[in-house]
């Protein structure tokens, strides 16, 4: 009987060769696959090595506690030897307040911007996380913690503490019971914000807010009789009359009976990141509705409306922001009624809003054009009128697909707030840093302040762009 040499049992599998597994395989594929690849890797290593070589000792020898740049250098020399590089972060100790609030903002009132900043997130949360109770609770909880810490650091008076905690506690409770009602806070937040930052009598913002109530009341009462659009027009006219002629005397009258208010702070005392945030947030808030209207106007069939919108958008997009800031600083005053006291910050805010609105309008125009024609036709076929079609069908889709572009234009706006330094406002980058660099103690410092300001801008802008990526994923409804 012939012997069978056929193997009946399987050999155990050998491990793959060393070059085909683990770190070696990964490095071969990702770092050294071709000659060009090897060259690039070596070059990248050299660049990283050079950066680390020059930056690491500088960072390691950082000095956080000194009275002047010369003292910093002495400390570095004593610790790491003569001529050793060393960062000097000690300038932050005397100047951090100026970087955050501006160097003229009264120290006793620092708690007000802090409270406003915390409440800003409480007001944003219902918009960003509509109806998500868990996320809302997390944000409001974080705001509470932030406010406790920051108000303590800003040495807020006890009453401010109590008011802040009552407010946030109320919001937290509301988030648990009726989280959809939180939007109400978002609506009144601009008035709270205005009052907290600029101070003065509490009645002025309340009476101004009443203008919107009047608008709504007129609209509701008149619309059954004269139709929606005329009623809205009438409401706006009555509200504008209220704002123009009634707000000041009425607020004064109430104030003389019940005086209640905060010490007022002038616009020219604003500075630092407070100023950048005020300009950025105001610009973003007001430019979105204006931008939507401009984009719709540009799409409209009405030649006059369309022409006006196109000219406005293209003119503003064709000139640099700096020229618009020049307009705000030097020219706008000539076009306003004589003796009207629009202060510089307000004029800058107007122009920045226009600037941002024109860019947003262009972004939205793209997404309006990208919507399939069928969506417009379907809206018409359902018998929706223009505004209902826009509100229910067109804009939700258009806004959704333009989210990344809208957020990047907001990032652009936030970065552009630094340009107000050209019209002598104390923004953090040049305004405050120039003050620091002119200080006798800190003359000659440049890396550290710019890195400090740049890092803060980076954190905000990068955070916003990451959030837009998240939103894009969340709102994605197509099936791919």
């Amino acid at each position: 009987m012939a012997e069978s040499f056929t193997r009946t049992n399987m050999l155990p599998a050998l491990p793959p060769p060393i070059s085909e597994r683990g770190l070696v395989k990964w490095a071969r594929e990702n770092l050294f696959s071709t000659w060009l690849d090897i060259f690039l890797t070596v070059a990248a290593f050299l660049v990283i090595g050079w950066l680390a070589w020059s930056a690491f000792p500088w960072w390691r020898n950082s000095v956080w506690n000194a009275g002047s740049l010369a003292e910093c250098r002495q400390v570095v020399a004593a610790a790491a030897g003569e001529g050793a590089p060393g960062a000097c972060w000690a300038f932050l100790r005397p100047w951090w307040g100026a970087y955050i609030f501006g160097n003229f903002f009264p120290r006793d009132e620092w708690w007000r911007p802090v409270l406003t900043f915390g409440l800003l997130f409480a007001a944003l949360a219902p918009v960003l996380f509509a109806g998500q109770k868990r996320n809302l609770t997390i944000v409001l909880g974080a705001v509470t913690v932030f406010l406790v810490l920051a108000l303590y650091l800003a040495s807020a008076p006890g009453t401010a503490f109590v008011i802040a905690m009552l407010l946030v506690g109320g919001l937290l409770a509301l988030a648990q019971v009726r989280s959809d009602r939180l939007l109400g806070f978002t609506v009144v937040f601009p008035f709270i914000c205005f009052w907290l930052l600029w101070g003065g009598s509490i009645w002025a913002p309340i009476v101004a807010m009443a203008g919107f109530g009047i608008l709504y009341a007129v609209f509701r009462l008149a619309s059954p009789h004269i139709g929606l659009a005329p009623a809205a027009g009438l409401g706006v006219v009555v509200a504008v009359v209220w704002w123009l002629f009634a707000v000041a005397p009425v607020a004064q009258a109430i104030d003389s009976v019940i005086p209640l208010g905060l010490p007022s702070v002038n616009s020219d005392q604003f500075g630092g990141f407070l100023l950048a945030t005020v300009i950025g947030v105001t610009g973003i808030t007001f430019s979105l509705p204006i931008g939507i209207l401009l984009a719709l106007g540009r799409q409209s069939d009405m030649p006059i409306v369309k022409t006006l919108c196109v000219v406005f958008i293209e003119t503003i997009r064709g000139v640099p922001l700096i020229t618009l800031l020049f307009v705000a600083a030097f020219v706008l005053g000539f076009f306003l009624p004589p003796n009207s006291d629009f202060d510089l910050l307000l004029r800058v805010l107007i122009l920045v809003t226009f600037f941002s609105a024109a860019y947003l309008a262009e972004v939205l125009r793209g997404s309006l054009a990208a919507l399939p024609r069928g969506q417009y036709e379907a809206a018409d076929a359902l018998g929706l009128d223009y505004w209902r079609a826009q509100r229910l069908i067109i804009l939700p889709q258009a806004l959704k697909i333009s989210i990344p572009a809208i957020v990047s234009s907001f990032i652009g706006l936030f970065k552009d707030t630094t340009l107000v330094t050209i019209v002598a406002l104390y923004e953090p980058l040049k305004g405050i840093t120039a003050v620091v660099r002119q200080d006798v103690n800190w003359k000659g410092i440049y890396w550290e302040p710019y890195i400090f300001v740049g890092t803060i801008f980076f954190v905000f802008c990068f955070g916003m762009s990451r959030y837009s990526k998240y939103l894009e994923r969340k709102l994605k409804t197509d099936h791919r």
């Binding site: 990702n30 890797t41 020049f326 020219v331 980058l429 440049y446």
Partner: protein, 433 residues
């Protein structure tokens, strides 16, 4: 029943021919747009009249009037960087022109360098090399998320504060004896000196020029014109040679050799012209407390150019990356299936399609860069927002005129660039459909 139907028919056919009523202006969608437009126009005119009235009142109360005559007055200030002749005796209009040329020159070089760097970074970001693509991502995110003004100010601060003074370059006799080296030396084979006052480059000079020709309102530099026309002629001749070669290749299948003709046509005439003109370089030399000779480039220009290039390149890199990714992988595979080599695949298949996606956003980046040159005002670069919008406005007190003139100039630059680039864009877009 028939009677009823007939009634219905008559009813249907007898649609009441509605006469026009005033209420239709509000309630009828056919006419409503006229009402809206009339209201908008009325509001607009009212706004213009209101603004004009305010302007009139304000000008009256300040005893001013609108006039552009100040442009022909003596400017009386010096401009550090000028590409056209200018002294402080020149007019404000001349200062405007100097500022405009300064704006354009930084915008031009910025666009060129930013495109080169941006394409480089964008391609490297897509590379399979893990380390390089991460490094490029860090670069892009770092520059995109920090204000441009920071890069402008930082590069200016580094250039002015971290560079040696001219006196540090001095080599004294005692130092020679002691064998000591000076504190600072010139870069690039002793041709470029970077000092705290600026960068000194070698200046190209010619011995024999063609002189200039006076046109009355401006003078034409004939030497410059000759150089430009020779270069343009060479490029045109080279194109003809390539087109001929292509035609021959298509007719006969054999491509005539062009490898020596092209460089010859491109470079020989210009070299001959430059030799005939006697081109030589004047090198910067340390004389006393400062460098003399050569071309002094102000740090404001260098810093602005560096910052604009690095910042805009980060955006262009993203555009390039998105453009290349937009070309589907099937295109590359099809090209390989046809037997094209990788670099021909890139140049013949991927790039032409990617360009279609890349160019429109690239145009807006060029526009942004041009507008961002106005940030030079922060480091007192004498561009148009520094001369017209800065010193001229300050000296003459003509805020309205200066600011509007400046806006009009920027607007026309923007419109010109976007028109030129849109023309180029339409030439690379798909011709079919």
């Amino acid at each position: 029943l028939g009677e009823k139907q007939g009634e219905a028919m008559t009813l249907a056919s007898d649609m009441p021919t509605e006469s026009f009523r005033l209420s239709m202006l509000v309630f009828d969608t056919r006419y409503r747009s006229y009402t809206i437009q009339a209201v908008v126009l009325a509001l607009f005119v009212m706004a213009i009249v209101w603004l004009g009235y305010n302007l009139d009142q304000n000008l009256d109360s300040r005893g001013k009037e609108l006039s552009f005559r100040f442009l022909w007055q003596r400017a009386g200030y010096d401009i550090p960087q000028k590409l056209i002749p200018y002294t402080n005796d020149s007019t404000h209009f001349r200062a405007l022109l100097v500022g405009l040329t300064n704006t354009l020159v930084v915008a031009f070089f910025g666009c060129v360098f930013a495109t080169i760097l941006g394409v480089f970074v964008g391609v490297l970001r897509l590379s399979n090399n893990w380390l390089v693509s991460r490094l490029m991502t860090v670069y892009v995110e770092m520059f995109r998320n920090v204000p441009l003004l920071l890069w402008v100010l930082l590069s200016y601060a580094i250039l002015t504060e971290a560079t040696p003074d001219p006196k540090d370059f001095r080599v004294t006799d005692e130092m020679v004896v002691a064998g000591e080296a000076p504190a600072a030396t010139m870069k690039l084979f002793d041709t470029v000196a970077v000092t705290s006052r600026g960068t000194n480059f070698p200046a190209p000079l010619i011995e024999r020029g063609f002189g200039s020709f006076d046109l009355g309102f401006m003078s034409l530099n004939l030497t410059f014109l000759a150089i430009i026309s020779v270069i343009a002629g060479s490029i045109y001749a080279n194109r003809r040679i390539l087109a001929d070669a292509k035609a021959k290749q298509e007719a006969t299948g054999i491509r005539p050799a062009t490898w020596w003709k092209s460089p010859l046509v491109l470079f020989a005439p210009i070299i001959a012209l430059l030799v005939a003109l006697g081109l030589h370089f004047e090198f910067p030399v340390l004389a006393g407390f400062n460098f003399k000779g050569g071309l002094l480039v102000a740090h404001a220009f260098t810093a602005l150019l560096i910052a604009l290039t690095l910042y805009t390149a980060a955006f262009i890199a993203e555009i390039v990356r998105a453009g290349i990714q937009a070309v589907s992988g099937g295109q590359t595979e099809a090209a390989y299936a046809l037997g094209l080599r990788p670099n021909r695949t890139m140049s013949l298949v991927v790039l032409p399609q990617a360009l279609r996606v890349i160019i429109p956003p690239l145009i807006s980046q060029f526009l942004n860069l041009t507008k961002n040159t106005s940030l030079g005002a922060a480091i007192s670069y004498s561009d148009i927002s520094g001369t017209l919008g800065g010193i001229t406005r300050n000296q003459t007190g003509r805020e309205i005129e200066c600011v509007f003139l400046m806006m009009a100039i920027y607007l026309s630059i923007s419109l010109t660039i976007s028109m030129a680039m849109n023309y180029y864009n339409s030439s690379v877009q798909l011709k079919a459909r």
